[in-house]
């Protein structure tokens, strides 16, 4: 499961004071200049260990600009920067011919410059990560079809204080879980030409957290009684997705990378398509509903894997957009 958040290589540059006497103030601790390389490449994903589908996904190449060794991941890698960082994302398009990428991160204000990346080209997008939060990066190319093929991932901007989601102490956490929610229609992914696919016929049959369907979402989220668990939801799918949590409430603190003036408790919270939400769940000192732990799952009840051709949709062992919080 590609849920690990690994730090990117940082190019730490010492700020040079210009001889004209300008003093540049640094905003917070360790505001840095960061460069991130991304390749958009075709690849495959194996769903529930049984079905392999073509995907288009992002990867970070070993050599900047060289996508020959990049391997598409579903979702793309978690990008991790600090509040105040000056970030440049270099996006190289290694998709098949005819698919121009449009690189977007809703909520991030990029510096002026092209967003479209033709096949074979690299485009740089620059921004200052001025606001902490959970952001969804994606390609908006081909009218949404590229996102349906898998070109999305999480961008986390961390505040100066460690173990907080935002600058508010009310967003402190002990355990962090980034949950990219999405879906796959294998018939769409397997089509010879996605641009010719009739999207009215799109019907997803796999429902994923971080690219996996239960039971492959194991080991789930490890947290003990009393822990505050930060649930970063990113809805990279196409429909409103409701996540229900049994055995505890989650405290919704932010939507679309902005703190709420009136945070509230929920046990079934709907994240619209394309949106992000942050919730803090406190693990109670009480029995979990299940021997598997506290269920966190899709309340549209997409707990099924693949085509349905029998009488019982949910595998006895569980399926779909489901995971557990457990000690």
């Amino acid at each position: 499961m590609r849920a690990l958040a690994f730090k990117k290589t940082r190019a730490l540059l010492v700020l040079v004071v210009v001889s004209a006497g300008l003093a540049l103030t640094s905003s917070a601790a360790s505001a840095a200049v960061v460069s991130i390389e991304l390749c958009a490449v075709p690849g495959t994903a194996t769903l529930t260990g049984a079905v392999t589908v073509p995907i288009w996904g992002f990867d970070e190449p070993a050599t900047p600009g060289d996508c020959s060794t990049a391997v598409a991941s579903l979702p793309g890698p978690v990008l991790d920067v600090d509040e105040g960082d000056d970030v440049t994302i270099n996006v190289t398009n290694a998709l098949p011919a005819g698919h121009t990428i449009r690189f977007e991160v809703p909520g991030i204000d990029f510096a002026a410059g092209p967003a479209d990346v033709d096949v074979g080209d690299t485009v740089s997008r620059t921004f200052t990560a001025s606001a902490a939060g959970t952001y969804l990066y994606q390609s908006g190319g081909d009218g949404g079809r590229q996102a349906a093929m898998g070109l999305y991932g999480a961008l986390l901007v961390r505040p100066a204080t460690a173990n907080q989601a935002y600058d508010s102490a009310a967003t402190a956490y002990d355990v962090e879980a980034t949950l990219v929610l999405s879906a796959v229609d294998p018939a769409f992914n397997q089509a010879a030409d996605q641009n010719a696919f009739n999207m009215y016929q799109y019907r997803a049959t796999y429902w994923l957290i971080n690219g996996e369907a239960y039971p492959d979402t194991a080991p789930g989220i490890t947290a003990a009684a009393g822990d505050q668990v930060l649930l970063r939801y990113l809805n990279a799918g196409f429909d409103n997705t409701t996540m229900q949590l049994l055995g505890m409430h989650e405290h919704v603190v932010a939507r679309d990378a902005r703190l709420l003036n009136n945070p509230f408790d929920a046990n079934a919270e709907t994240i619209p398509a394309g949106a992000t939400e942050d919730a803090i769940a406190t693990v109670p000192d009480a029995a979990a509903p299940s021997t598997n732990g506290f269920p966190l799952y899709n309340r549209q009840l997409h707990l099924t894997n693949g085509v349905q051709n029998e009488g019982d949709p949910t595998p006895a062992g569980g399926g779909g957009m489901l995971t557990f919080i457990h000690p």
């Binding site: 029995a287 509903p289 299940s290 349905q308 019982d312 949709p313 949910t314």
Partner: protein, 662 residues
């Protein structure tokens, strides 16, 4: 189409005779359950519920029948007969709740309790989300402390994509320690007689048919066609709780309010639960609703005329009906309706049915085009309360139907009626019509005492006199009359033209009187008939406002400074002697309205207003047969105190009847 019309017409038939409608089985609801509003399941042992998961069919308004699974209450009078949704479980904050589940379904099932912490289980076998009861008569028990007040959902935790769609859900209500008339804290007080539950769900009949016939169940191909509230689709949502028309769907969804007043100032509480998988944008017409909580937790309150309730979410709303416009048929300047009313001949109604009374003012009925069937009872208002996803405002894509109910606003205090006619049984008309009794204004219904004449002279001592006519004088009992300056008491021969009299009564002296002398009654009797009162109306409140004046001619009111007339207001009890029992002032059917205020009352020349209450069923006071819907109220006024009372006229200003409509 025909089915739906039949159901609409039957709303009226039910209002007329719901007590008579035969039921297919003993009923899922506790005895005496209210016809409108949320119904709590009463556990035999506090906070222990015995549920059974079983199968059954529901009726839809377009004539369809759909196979469902649901939870039923094994302790109900009908011993766990199928019902959908599951029973409403009501518990108190801090109680330990035990739910025992017996499973008759062909696969394992269970219950999960979103929003509850520390749910423990016993029995059953471990499942994906919780312990399960085995197929075909397995059992499992759940236990938890209801630590936080609020509105919650309970639902299956087994094979949820199938079992929740099939109907395995219900409501759990936790009442705060503060009291059952609070939703959460002191700021969420509500009127406990106005508590409503709207549990939303969705039905894909093709998926249900697959389960019924052991076919392929493709959840990814789900396409919902029916959108129930409390297990019923509009217009079935308007039927009473426990209606015999829908034996497997016991909960109605009509929301019924009265405008807030100084004495009736608490809002209604509407608890909403979305057991489906779709978000539903719910939309009240009329006033805004105030959202106070989500998922059993208070939120900063906001007002809405559209609020989306998400899948699995609960929301609580307070609803006040304030009447800031005060539009009334006889309003002060500046409070008339801002637009002219349409001519009733220009009104058209879908399928010839309407909930409109024909008059836009609250509590008044008017004229409707010929052939229109009105479901309106007493001039109340109806507003739709519905999902604004308009495909859900339909039954299998035919409007109107689906996820909709009505908000019914009764007149303040309840339905009311005014006299349609009057009848004088002891007296003569001085001026005015029954219309004068409709409004508290300067217009009065004025009655003079009955008079007759002596056809011959009267000696000072005779105790038997003949009169020209006894009509309009009491036919029984003793009473006083006046001739010139003498008051006589009639002690015999009542109803005939030969009276036995006692002379010189009430401080007057016996005297001779000329032939042709006028004999005046010292009492007035008249009754008003109010019509259109529905069978099943309850809790009558009769209000009468009137005065008495010393003159029997002219338009001014001469004051009566002393010997104030004694007024008794009575109501006709038809069951005593039928119509004959209420035909004259002394007939046996008149029942004095009970204190408070006590009667008789002394009423002089200033209007006196009194309201009498008859609690409970009013069936004895509502006429039947050719007097169907008629209520008669008698005003008897007599001036029989010393010294020397003179004749007077009775002036009636206002008479109204307020009642709880069925």
């Amino acid at each position: 189409m025909t089915q739906r019309i039949r159901r609409l017409v039957l709303v009226v038939a039910l209002a007329a005779g719901s007590a008579v409608l035969a039921q297919g089985h003993a009923g899922a609801l506790p005895a005496g359950a209210a016809k409108i509003g949320m119904i709590c399941t009463v556990p035999t042992t506090p906070a222990t519920f015995n549920l059974v998961a079983n199968t059954g069919f529901i009726d839809t308004p377009d004539g369809n029948s759909v196979f469902m699974w649901s939870y039923a209450n094994a302790d109900a009078p009908d011993n766990g007969h199928f019902q959908t949704p599951g029973p409403v479980l009501c518990v108190n904050e801090g109680q330990t709740v035990t739910v025992n589940l017996h499973n008759t379904l062909p696969e394992a099932t269970s219950i999960v309790f979103p929003g509850q912490e520390g749910v423990t289980t016993s029995g059953g076998s471990g499942g994906l989300f919780t312990a399960e009861a085995a197929a075909s008569n397995g059992d499992v028990s759940y236990s938890f402390t209801a630590s936080a007040p609020g509105t919650y959902l309970y639902e299956s935790g087994s094979d949820p994509s199938k079992q929740i769609q099939m109907g395995l859900y219900g409501a759990l209500i936790v009442r705060p320690t503060l009291g059952a008339n609070y939703a959460y804290n002191a700021a969420t007080q509500f009127d406990p007689s106005r508590e409503y539950l709207l549990l939303l769900s969705e039905i894909d009949p093709a998926l249900h048919h697959a389960v019924e016939t052991s076919g392929t169940y493709d959840f990814n191909a789900m396409r919902n066609r029916y959108f129930p509230i409390n297990g019923r689709e509009f217009p079935d949502t308007l039927q009473d709780n426990g209606t015999g028309l829908l034996p497997n769907q016991p909960y109605g969804a009509l929301v019924r309010l009265q405008p807030n007043t100084v004495t009736n100032n608490q809002p209604a509480l509407i608890r909403m639960i979305n057991a489906g998988t779709l978000n539903h944008p719910f939309h009240p017409h009329g006033n805004h609703t105030r959202e106070i909580a989500q998922d059993g937790r208070l939120v900063a309150s906001t007002e809405h005329f559209a609020e989306t309730i998400g899948s699995g979410q609960t929301q609580d709303f307070l609803l006040r009906w304030d009447d800031p416009d005060h539009w009334a048929p006889n309003p002060p300047p500046g409070q008339q309706l801002p637009v002219p009313q349409p001519n009733y001949r220009d009104l058209m109604f879908k399928d010839g049915n309407t909930f409109y009374s024909g008059n836009p003012y609250l509590g008044y009925k008017g004229t409707l085009p010929t052939g229109t069937v009105s479901q309106n009872i007493c001039g109340e208002w109806y507003f739709p309360l519905h999902s604004h996803a308009l495909n859900e405002f339909a039954n299998f894509d035919e409007a109107f139907g689906g996820m909709a109910t009505l908000l019914r606003v009764d007149p303040p205090g309840g339905c009311f009626g005014f006299p349609a006619s009057t009848s004088i049984v002891g007296g003569t008309l001085k001026s005015g019509t029954s219309a004068a009794l409709g409004l508290d204004d300067a217009s009065y219904y004025q009655v003079n005492p009955k008079t007759t004449t002596r056809p011959s002279p009267t000696t000072i001592g005779q105790t038997s006199i003949t009169v020209a006519s006894a009509a309009g004088f009491p036919a029984s009992g003793t009473y006083y009359v006046r001739i010139d300056n003498e008051v006589l008491q009639v002690t015999g021969g009542q109803g005939t033209t030969t009276w036995t009299v006692a002379r010189g009564q009430l401080g007057t002296a016996a005297a001779t009187h000329l032939s042709g002398a006028t004999i005046s009654a010292l009492a007035n009797d008249w009754y008003a008939s109010l019509t259109g009162v529905p069978t099943g109306a309850q809790n009558f409140k009769v209000t009468y406002k009137g005065k008495n004046c010393g003159n029997t001619t002219g338009t001014a009111c001469t004051a009566i400074p002393s010997n104030l007339p004694q007024q008794t207001v009575k109501i006709c009890n038809w069951t005593i002697a039928g119509a004959a029992g209420c035909s004259s002032s002394t007939s046996a059917g008149w029942v004095t309205l009970p204190a408070p205020p006590a009667q008789p009352q002394a009423v002089g020349s200033t209007d006196v207003t009194s309201t009498w209450t008859l609690s409970g069923s009013a069936s004895a006071y509502i006429g039947t047969g050719s007097y169907k819907g008629q209520v008669r109220v008698l005003v008897h006024t007599q001036r029989w105190t010393a010294p020397a009372p003179t004749t007077f006229s009775t002036w009636g200003n206002l008479m109204t009847l307020v009642y709880d409509a069925p």
